[in-house]
């Protein structure tokens, strides 16, 4: 099949991308602890712009200090962050690449809590089920404050001359914590029925629209199938595709320009990023968060202890064994696409041109978002343009990048993809090399 369709421009509301490939949210702890951005992050994003993607979706940019996943990511919580994002956008635009900021609030999901706020906020006061991150149930004023923080974050992105925002609504972050029937246990107007659980997300979208107007891209990332029972069989499944399709219809009405498909009401999740569980790397790096949650130390011990480690891995890898990593979310994407008239972007292991082209022409999605495969091959789009169906050294979906990012620079840590360990390390550290002012 021809891959021409990949290189057709993509209209997303008021925004037009040169092709159908977006770099999905992906970065390491490249910035300062206080949330100020650094030249390293600019190097990081420019690498993908240079490689030919149509747009970059930033790594999660917290709209409030309390909403950080982990220290070391640039925040967009104050107006004095704008100059950094303006510079980042300017550098990315030099490659005819658009820049979309992913606005996030982690809620209770905080891999490493920060100094200021010992506990995260959430729809509930129950700890997160995998790591046991503790949290505090949000009051109405806290909800209002957070809705406004999203809106102000979007305004800052626009003032910085960037091309749009994406609301992080999937993968277990705060918006998911409201949407999900497996998490939200409120009995006020923000909990209970699907309509109530969607209230917070819709308020966020509307508040953003008030701030940025109609002619600025606003996307929404959603975990269409939450599949929490795939993490631990004793957990409730959470939202089904039918629930999420309804939410997407409401989002469209509220003024969202595109839906970005992901899976799982937690991060990481067996379906996201889909692949294998790098136990050996986990033992080396999960220690960093051993004191972060109620169950983190238990997990760490389990990762080190046979047979628990093997059982954990077997359970984790089941969905991918069944359906494969590449295009794992296409059925859900298709379901959403059939229900809404706005464009649908789909993530999940893409790196084969024919698979992507087929997904688009068959109407499963309008564009794809890619994280790990671009990490492995930042020039993936160029390789496709040259006629490769798959890169010569494809991503192996071993997720070592993810396992390493808390302690080490985000990079591909799969040695089999390199000529030597030294070459791999040179690649990993290259992100620092061109830092300005050196």
């Amino acid at each position: 099949m021809s891959s021409d369709v990949i290189f057709q421009p993509l209209r997303l509301g008021s925004l037009t991308l040169k092709n159908r490939v977006l770099r999905s949210s992906l970065a390491g702890r490249f910035d300062n602890y206080d949330g100020s951005g650094t030249p390293v992050r600019i190097n990081w994003d420019v690498k993908f712009a240079r490689g030919g993607v149509g747009a970059i979706i930033s790594s999660n940019a917290p709209v409030h200090r309390r909403g950080r996943l982990v220290p070391g990511f640039a925040l967009i919580d104050r107006d004095d962050r704008i100059p950094f994002f303006r510079e980042l956008g300017k550098r990315v635009h030099e490659y005819d690449c658009k820049y979309i900021v992913q606005l996030n609030h982690a809620g209770r999901h905080r891999d490493i809590g920060d100094l200021e706020f010992p506990k995260g906020l959430s729809s509930t006061d129950r700890p997160e089920p995998i790591h046991g991150f503790e949290c505090e149930r949000m009051t109405r004023p806290q909800i209002e404050e957070t809705v406004d923080a999203f809106a102000q974050g979007a305004r800052r992105a626009r003032e910085a001359g960037l091309d749009g925002v994406e609301v992080a609504g999937g993968n277990g972050v705060l918006v998911t914590q409201f949407l999900s029937s497996a998490i939200n246990d409120r009995d006020d107007e923000y909990g209970g029925s699907l309509e109530n659980r969607a209230r917070f997300a819709l308020q966020v979208v509307r508040a953003i629209r008030v701030q940025v107007g109609r002619d600025f891209y606003v996307g929404f990332k959603i975990s269409v199938d939450e599949c929490m029972n795939e993490v631990f069989p004793w957990l409730r499944r959470g939202n089904t595709p039918a629930d999420s399709v309804q939410i997407c219809k409401w989002l469209e009405e509220a003024g969202v320009d595109a839906i970005h498909i992901t899976a799982g009401a937690a991060f990481p999740h067996p379906r996201n990023p889909p692949g294998t569980m790098p136990l050996r790397d986990l033992v080396r790096t999960y220690d960093t968060i051993a004191a972060s949650g109620r169950y983190t130390f238990r997990n760490y011990v389990a990762f080190r202890t046979w047979p628990f480690s093997s059982i954990f891995r077997w359970q984790w890898e089941r969905p991918v064994r069944r359906v494969g990593a590449e295009g794992i979310n296409l059925p859900e994407s298709r379901a959403v696409k059939e229900a809404v008239s706005i464009p649908v972007l789909c993530g999940g292991g893409f790196q084969t041109a024919s698979v992507v082209a087929n997904a688009i022409t068959s109407g499963a999605c309008d564009g794809v978002t890619i994280a790990r495969s671009l990490l492995a091959n930042p020039n993936l789009v160029e390789l496709w343009a040259q006629g490769y169906d798959r890169p010569p050294r494809p991503c192996t979906y071993v997720n070592k990048c993810l396992a390493n990012f808390l302690e080490h620079p985000l990079a591909c840590y799969e040695e089999s993809r390199f000529d030597s360990h030294d070459e791999m390390m040179r690649e990993a550290l290259r992100v620092y090399e061109t830092a300005e002012g050196r």
Binding site: V40, E116, R284, D287, R438
Partner: protein, 434 residues
């Protein structure tokens, strides 16, 4: 007692410092993972330059990739790093403060090994007793390369127009691993008698001198009493003050300009930084090191396990009232044996105690880390007539516990009107952003 002695200039052979207070090695993971320096580190050092210290000794500055202690500290292993150090020095000099780079090699004592290397080099192939950091016995070729790394790093410090270097021979890092009778188990000319154990350090001094000449300030920091069995009673005691006095004499002969007295065969060590041991903070932050050594997981379990953790705490902790000036007897012994100036560290923050030590001739200067983290303007407070700062350092050591996961700063909430005020103080190192 008058604090005038503190404000007398100190003349080294090729360096003059305006007063007798040095900021000792202390910093956080403020830089890039690869060792590239950042504005944040400049902000950090300027706090102390502005506060009136005569000189700043940089935090551990890695001379090669494998010898780095923790990622996130500016290093000096390539010429590309020189512009950063030049800028840092320029900014510090604006406050009439001297800048001395502490050249360090971790050996096996790497709290968080960089992803680039598996094991650390050491005198021995045995892991360290406390954390179980694994080690590879350095070959002669390794040692030659290390000496060259120090010499090149010293050249870079000079090219960056800084004021001197300190070779970190203390606190359990590479040179301690050679010097210490409790660690070094070699049978070649780098192990055995004291003369052999001191060989690597002396040869490194020689290599540095031949690279940078005689007229660039070079000091050596050494753990004069190692107390290697202070925590784990089954270990040997390690080097005594008599051993170290001899090493200091050899260092003077080799052309070292000053001795910096510290203590302990490891870092941290019950004697350095001496003070409290907070189990709660340990449980919260030691987790980062779980995969760093063979015994770290065991230690972490023990920190959480009553009553073993109480025993550990009791063995480690030192009475805070006994902390200031703890190393003065060692300084006096070194001072009596050498003709070069002696700098001593260890809990100083009281003007009268420092002035008395200077006037008695126990030492020529003091170096301060924690006391200055608590009060960046300590020297200005002395000048204004305070004997102790109104809110002194409590020796709680929370600055140290937090350093691997959080920014360096004072974490003793009791010293601040609110937690928010404490957090703001910690975060102030990020201002200005550029």
């Amino acid at each position: 007692m008058s604090s005038d002695a503190i404000f007398q200039p100190l003349r080294f052979r090729s360096l003059e410092v305006k007063n007798r207070i040095f900021r000792s090695n202390i910093a956080g993971r403020l830089d890039d993972y690869d060792g590239g320096g950042s504005q944040v580190r400049i902000n950090w050092e300027l706090k102390f330059a502005r506060g009136g210290v005569g000189a700043i000794v940089s935090s551990w500055t890695g001379v090669d990739e494998r010898g780095k202690i923790v990622p996130g500290f500016a290093s000096i292993e390539t010429d590309e790093r020189i512009p950063f150090w030049r800028e840092l020095g320029r900014r510090v000099h604006e406050h009439d403060c001297r800048y001395i780079v502490q050249l360090a090699h971790a050996g096996r004592q790497r709290d968080v090994p960089a992803v680039t290397f598996g094991t650390g080099l050491s005198s021995t192939s045995k892991p360290d007793a406390l954390h179980g950091f694994e080690a590879e016995r350095a070959t002669r070729a390794d040692l030659e390369a290390i000496k060259r790394s120090f010499a090149s790093a010293a050249r870079r410090a000079r090219e960056a127009s800084l004021d001197g270097i300190e070779i970190h021979g203390a606190n359990g890092y590479l040179f301690t691993q050679f010097l210490s009778s409790a660690i070094n188990d070699r049978e070649d000319e780098y192990g055995g008698p004291l003369e052999n154990r001191a060989r690597l350090l002396l040869e490194t001094v020689e290599a540095v001198r031949s690279e940078i000449g005689r007229d660039f300030h070079l000091q050596v920091k050494i753990s004069t009493t190692e107390h290697a069995n202070a925590f784990l009673p089954w270990l040997g005691t390690g080097n005594t003050i008599e051993d170290s006095v001899q090493v200091c004499r050899w260092l003077e002969q080799a052309g070292v300009d000053a001795i910096h007295v510290s203590t302990g065969s490891t870092f941290p060590h019950p004697e350095n930084p001496a003070g409290e041991f907070s189990l709660e903070d340990m449980v919260r932050t030691y987790d980062v090191m779980l995969s760093s050594g063979k015994s770290t997981f065991r230690n972490y379990l023990l920190f959480r396990l009553w009553p073993v953790n109480r025993v550990m705490k009791a063995r480690w902790e030192r009475d805070p009232t006994q902390v200031p000036g703890r190393l003065l007897p060692d300084a006096r012994a070194v001072k009596a044996a050498v003709g070069i100036p002696v700098i001593v560290t260890g809990g100083f923050q009281q003007a009268s105690l420092i002035a008395a030590a200077l006037e008695r001739g126990d030492c020529d200067a003091v170096s301060i880390a924690r006391g200055l983290v608590a009060n960046n303007d300590l020297v200005e407070l002395f000048r204004a007539g305070h004997d102790l700062p109104p809110k002194p350092c409590t020796y709680c050591n929370k600055c140290l516990y937090n350093v691997l996961e959080h920014p360096i700063g004072c974490y003793d909430e009791r010293r601040f009107p609110s937690r928010q005020a404490m957090v703001e103080q910690v975060m102030s190192v990020y201002e200005p952003a550029a």
